[in-house]
Symmetry: C2
Subunit: 220 residues, 2 copies
Amino acid sequence: MKLAKAGLSERGYKMDTKQRILDEALTLFSEKGYANVFVADIAARVGIKAPSLYKHYKNKQAIFDAIIEEMNRRFVQEAGSLQISGTDASVDAEIYKQISEEQLIDLGKNLFLYFLHDDYTRRFRKMLTIEQFHDKKLADAYMKQYVDDPLSYQGMLLGMMSAAGILQTDNVEIMTLHFYAPIYMLLTVCDREPKREKEALKTLEAHIREFNRLYGRKSG
Amino acid sequence: MKLAKAGLSERGYKMDTKQRILDEALTLFSEKGYANVFVADIAARVGIKAPSLYKHYKNKQAIFDAIIEEMNRRFVQEAGSLQISGTDASVDAEIYKQISEEQLIDLGKNLFLYFLHDDYTRRFRKMLTIEQFHDKKLADAYMKQYVDDPLSYQGMLLGMMSAAGILQTDNVEIMTLHFYAPIYMLLTVCDREPKREKEALKTLEAHIREFNRLYGRKSG
DNA sequence: CTTGACGGCTAATTCAAATTAGCCTATAAT
DNA sequence: ATTATAGGCTAATTTGAATTAGCCGTCAAG
């Protein structure tokens, strides 16, 4: 009965159709937008016919909603996943006295590449971009995940580096903006034109070196 | 006959329905996206019934296409409209030796406020954001208007200022990125949450002052 | 003063896409 | 073995929005 659902994982030989629907739907929504995706498209990708979808979800909107829910779950998990070379942010602030330019570059590249390449994140960001109007909550989610949270998180890191004397500024907020805004902008470029990724990475590196020169200790 | 169309402008007492359709359609498309706007919605705003729209445009897509065409026309015109306090960019480079921090702030604010408030530009930018997938040309148009062109134009100005010794850098491209990326990011914030405009303007000013401190002559 | 095209309206019509009905098979618990 | 359920399919059905048909008043040109 109910056990069957939970019990599936003990085999795992046939990945949950219900989950595959979400996955394929997200891909399509992120490419064409909700209104331009037909339930038949989703079904086809999953390898079933449209009416069969309704065995898993009440209707098209329910698929969309399930994606949003899943997002919220993942966001919570991954909140702390952006680190400096594997070093967790919660670690003692002493570590920030050691950070070199190369590590700063790593930080920026990691952030950029994670956002750009993580499959779920990428599709989700595109969907949020396209579907902002569909639900004000989506615009909020976008803003939080790609503006406010990064600024706050990066601000914390850079603030510590400033406190440690590695960076010099009397306005951490603006310094953080200077660090992150170019990353953000390059991200929106690559989302639209993946071909420009290589160029963007070079620009990113040059940006961070210059950032370090501008804000770094004068002897750096 | 054909004269009637051209002759209308001599009166002008009744703004062209054909034009009003484009205007209202752009507003709606920018808020909800093409697929979520019904021709009946557009008609209602214009003050007519849906079938009457077809006296002016072949179909819904033709309305969309006409908007794009109109955009292209305007883009060409307005290409040079971003100036430093009314000073045209084509003017002798000597002028750039005079530019002060306040004028730099003006430049940034003008750019920002023009993009943010110009009615047509604003609606169009939102539509491009939402409808990127509808037509690859739209993604390209967005990229050109909000990334490449500003970087190129601002880069020219800042490059001259650098040549004039007002700014110091060995990489104008990155300096331009540092100048513009925060403006771009603040713009995407305000598009989604107009309430944050005031905060954004303060941030913008702080950004440019810091920019000037970082790149300006040391005696500045 | 009459004609034709411009632009509006109401009432169909079309059409595509979502959803439902109803059937069928395999599997898994009893 | 029996049977209930999960999950798939085909063939309707519904729905709703775009578009077309066809009518009408106005106004400007002849």
